[in-house]
Symmetry: C2
Subunit: 229 residues, 2 copies
């Protein structure tokens, strides 16, 4: 019997890649507008290479970009970029269509909800809080709690312990086959692949289910629990 759904956060609950792209695009345009004399492509290439080396959550990306390009920070241009980045990020930070009603329906069905994310605590919680999702989840496990990333069993087992449930009572949904599906399956959870959030063109996620909309979760739980409508 499924008693809890464990969600990955980025690209499963929120469209993180869209958010990053929208924010970076806005920042690049604003910095060119403020006088940065480089092509949009060159600036994005630099930003992406910094994200690749420092991680996608790196908070000093523009400072580092200026130091590498100009040898020092141009605060006038950078501040134009940061303001544009923040405004675009806030505008683009939304749950996928159907997520909010699905969460409410799952709660009504008596299920517990959890998040297991590899993002740092502060950034994960900020994203949850911006979309007013911070009160939906009984358990939120981020990178800071375990210092281990999926597919390590550690974050999954910590979620089970805090939920006070066994692995076969939980269903894990995520967009990253090698992390979310492999890791959840290894500890004995049922798995749902969030096809709508897939950024790798995953052919075979090796999951129990494969969905194009989060609303499909409701029927999956009903089927698993043999509920007749």
């Amino acid at each position: 019997m499924i008693k809890a759904i464990i969600f990955d956060l980025d690209n499963t609950l929120v469209d993180f890649m869209l958010l990053k792209r929208a924010a970076v695009d806005a920042a690049v345009n604003a910095m060119i507008d403020a006088g940065l004399n480089l092509s949009s492509e060159k600036i994005k290439e630099k930003i992406n290479s910094i994200y690749d080396s420092e991680g996608i959550e790196y908070q000093q990306v523009f400072d580092k970009m200026f130091k590498e390009i100009l040898g020092k920070v141009d605060y006038k241009i950078m501040s134009a970029g940061i303001v544009a980045y923040r405004k675009a990020r806030e505008a683009a930070l939304k749950p996928y269509p159907g997520v909010l009603p699905a969460l409410i329906e799952l709660i009504k069905m008596g299920l517990k909800l959890a998040v297991v994310s590899d993002a740092p605590s502060k950034e994960a919680w900020l994203r949850l809080s911006y979309i007013n999702f911070q009160h939906f989840f009984d358990v939120v496990i981020t990178y800071d709690e375990t210092r281990e990333r999926k597919p390590s069993p550690v974050p999954f087992n910590m979620a089970l312990k805090e939920l006070n449930l066994k692995a076969d009572e939980c269903l894990m949904i995520g967009d990253w086959a090698e992390r979310d599906m492999v890791g959840a399956k290894a500890v004995g959870m049922k798995t749902v692949f969030a096809r709508y959030g897939d950024t790798f063109n995953t052919e075979n996620p090796d999951s129990d289910y494969d969905i194009n909309s989060i609303s499909e979760l409701i029927n999956i739980v009903k089927k698993e629990n043999n509920v007749n409508e």
Copy 2:
């Protein structure tokens, strides 16, 4: 002949104390709402004492508050506070009434405009950029450029050098008598006290002028330059 106006930033161009108060109030309410079990007064007292010891621009104020109160950061509660803080700050970050038309009028009169602020570069420029003021000023001197605070002559002299003007060709406007008026007067500038931004109940700012609205600057310049309307 006055050829440039040098502005202090905080509490002269923007109502910084209002902004801080609005942002902190919103954050405290959000954190109590998210489960922080302390009185609003106690939380504000803690936040203010951290600002007093670390400086009003300190960016990790909530992290430090949680560590001092609970021994660790509660990310769920803190993120609610940060989101509320950011939204309230953006809403409250506005130039004083009359600032924008006054700047435009001064530019039309052929004057150069500058900022001399004790704030860190990044924060000063972010505030200017949020209100779309970043292109108005020919020269912006912040703490990072000189590592000296007003009333030191260093930031004033750097502004004069970059403006390529003499001290008696410049008029300094600011809300802090001991820093803005004393410092500008010492290098030989005319001074205007921004009474509307005064947070110290200053009795005698010892300035050449004392104004209740920034729009009064226009007539002061006309008078100084013997322009007949």
